[in-house]
Amino acid sequence: MRNEPSTMMPEMPAVSAEVMARLDEDTRRNFLRMKHWSEMVMNPKEPEVGPTPREEIYRKNKSRLWRYASKRTYRTPLLFVPNLGISRPYIFDLMPKASFIEHMTQQGFDFYLVDWGVFGPEDNSLTVEDAVTKILPRLARKALESSGASEMSVLGYCMGAPLSACFLTTHPEFPLKNYIDMAGPIDFSHVGMFGQWLDARYFDVDKYVDTLGSIPADMVKLGFKLLKPTMDLSTNVNLWWNLWNPEYVAGFNALNKWANEYLPFPGEFFRQWVKEFYQQNKLVKGELVMGGRPVKLSAIACPVLAVGAKEDNIAPPACVKALMDAVSSTDKEYLELPGGHISLIAGRGLRPIAGPRSRPGWRPGPRGDAPWRRRAVSSSSISGRGKWRRAPRPGCGRSGRDSRRIRSRSGGPSWTRGWRRGRSS
């Protein structure tokens, strides 16, 4: 005969066992909460971030180009262009199993990261134009040289998306294969609260830059904190709730370290960024000129993927989606994922958009050459200035005619074919 508690204690109602179990669990968790909290306060450990091995390929002033270790099973290298200023780029490689870079390198992408660096007061004269026409082209060229590949895909995240779009449109000779915009604002008329606060009627950017010189990290922090004033409270409530869980605590420590390390903006960069992008919305209007060349998004004709996050209040989906109408690509796709601006690329709930598992179209194909290879033509046929004298690629030429051929092959988005597995470069 089994000794069941309910038969041993007939006078106790059935719900008591549940309550007792719950209390037991709560006591255990509270004990763990106290333990972890005291560890965090008394013996705080510096979280280890950026676990993926990497090598420095090139450095220019404060900026670095990193190449991450991977099997490089995909032929086409990927250049990741994040935001300049605001925050440190280790968020993309935060910690094991919560790293966008780790995921991409495990998939076999030859991954290059542009690390803009921390600009000091000596860089106050650096403009958006300088970043787009002097730094980015050089880093992209070095990445291409280092990979040995003939083409490159570019992924712009946040501010990195408009910056990389400006670079690509002003450098038509760059052998671009695919372009990805992850939470990068394109149409600044839909940019939400930041757009409203930075409106020329209320915000005098000239006075701001002339008075402060550079934009201090504390000011940047204030702006982002104001965007979501309850964020700190909800973060702390969630920490308390999950404090019993060591895995959560480790993740929190790493993310918290990043979230409190804001970076300053070079003054002139901020002036141009606010004026021409936020206040005048020149990018989507096609009125920007950089390095003497017009910035026309319609010049992008290669396969394009744009990814917006539903709850993104820094780059709301509408301002990201605008890229779809601005480019002349026929092979283009817009994805809207749940989550916010950061959860797209960081944290344990990471949903890597480029992860083949998240999208059937991104599954790697069989090994072998890319189905559409670059045709050899003389460099004189290219309108560019000759640093990247490549043939126009189907779908990446300046005319939309070539790009229309791409879709017909297998029906899936052509960047999947562009990143078919091949021998390592």
Binding site: V15, E18, A21, R22, D123, Q196, Y202, T211, T230, K387
Partner: protein, 126 residues
């Protein structure tokens, strides 16, 4: 209160009091977040923030300038370079690096053209 009453009327009573409390806090924060978001998304708020910023700049500008002048004078008295002088030197180094990069580019272009020329000559001879 609305969040609390909504929570209390939802579903059967549970032993998970902590869970219910957390749920209440989440809803309370979400409600406040929404309220603040609405208030901060208005033109009035943007206008007020702009004014606040302007008065901050009006105050901090002269203070910053006066402090810098004082510090520079103090450093000059000690025979030390001022902050702006150090920044000037750093800016010159940045410019120098730009120039070296430009030279590197030109050199690359020349080497490339030479290689192409050599290849063309070899091909012509063959």
């Amino acid at each position: 209160m609305a969040a609390w009453s909504k929570l209390m009327t939802q579903g059967p009573p549970s032993a998970d009091l902590m869970g219910q409390w957390k749920q209440f806090l989440d809803q309370w924060i979400a409600a406040w977040s929404k309220v603040l978001e609405q208030a901060m998304g208005t033109e009035t708020f943007a206008q007020a923030m702009g004014k606040q910023m302007e008065s901050f700049l009006n105050t901090s500008g002269p203070v910053k300038k006066a402090a810098e002048q004082q510090i520079d004078a103090g450093l000059a008295g000690l025979g030390l370079p001022s902050r702006s002088q150090v920044i000037g030197v750093a800016a010159q180094i940045v410019q120098l690096e730009d120039k070296i990069d430009g030279l590197e580019d030109r050199l690359d272009a020349v080497v490339k053209e030479l290689r192409e020329l050599t290849a063309a000559v070899k091909a012509a001879r063959a």
